[in-house]
């Protein structure tokens, strides 16, 4: 027996009115982050002891620059989705919950953009 109305089932959006989009994006970014995170740790290890010129030359190379931007995008997208769920679970005052979620989303956007801009600046002007 389904407790959903026929219209509810056809729309398939559930009580949060967004269907599985949030859940799905969390999985897609998680899958992307597995290789990206491992690549990043290995890269950082190989950069230990490198000076400014070597480090920025590495960041600015096409493959590391693109992978770094992918890593940053996936990380902040994933973090923002994950933190939203945590806040939804623990903050029970509706106004406070909305404010906290917005704050997290803006912070993730600003941090992500700042870091991506940093990578691009290094790549294009050294």
């Amino acid at each position: 027996m389904s407790l959903r109305s026929p219209l509810g089932r056809v729309r398939g959006l559930g009580s949060a009115k967004e269907g599985t989009a949030h859940w799905w994006a969390q999985r897609v970014t998680a899958i992307a982050l597995v290789p990206l995170a491992l690549w990043f740790v290995a890269s950082i290890l190989s950069l230990i002891g490198a000076d400014y010129a070597t480090t920025t030359a590495w960041i600015g190379m096409p493959v590391p620059a693109v992978l770094l931007i992918l890593l940053l995008t996936a990380t902040f997208y994933h973090a923002q989705l994950g933190l939203q769920v945590v806040l939804e679970d623990y903050v029970h005052n509706e106004g406070l919950k909305l404010a906290a979620i917005l704050l997290v989303k803006f912070a993730c956007l600003v941090l992500g953009l700042a870091a991506v801009f940093g990578v691009l600046k290094i790549a294009f002007q050294g």
Binding site: R27, V34, I48, G49, L83, V86, A114, G118, V119
Partner: protein, 132 residues
């Protein structure tokens, strides 16, 4: 329908910690730790973009006692969240729900976290691989 003050399940005060519940909350905890850790990553990249002086300051911070302590925390959290995240993805694919598999997988996640953290720091201190 009023749901009043019904207790939530699991009622944490009377719930005996088990490997399943502890690893589950650790996934959430490490996710939050990693989100904070992104500040360190962004600081490092922005400092490199700003120039040699800012970069030197960022490197000095990371190499400091506090910086290394934080870095160790980020690596443990990352490896735990990554290994346990793969377990999550397998569950999402409908795999590994037998109690025995859940317990063994959980132990596997803890072992993987320990081994990967150890390997990374041994490489970092030059005991293995090309680190210095």
């Amino acid at each position: 329908m009023s749901t009043g003050k019904r207790p939530l399940s699991p009622h944490l005060q009377v719930y005996r910690p088990q490997i399943t519940s502890v690893l589950s909350i650790l996934h959430r905890f490490t996710g939050i730790v990693l989100a904070v850790g992104t500040l360190h990553l962004v600081y490092w990249i922005v400092a490199a973009a700003q120039g040699p002086e800012s970069f030197a300051a960022a490197q000095a911070f990371t190499a400091s006692w506090l910086g290394r302590f934080l870095l160790f925390g980020w690596t443990v959290a990352l490896f735990y969240h990554l290994a346990n995240g793969i377990r999550h993805l397998l569950w999402d694919a409908g795999l590994g729900f037998e109690l025995r598999q859940v317990t063994l997988g959980g132990i596997g996640v803890l072992v993987a976290t320990g081994v990967l953290t150890l390997l990374a720091w041994m490489a970092g201190y030059g005991f293995i691989g090309s680190g210095s």
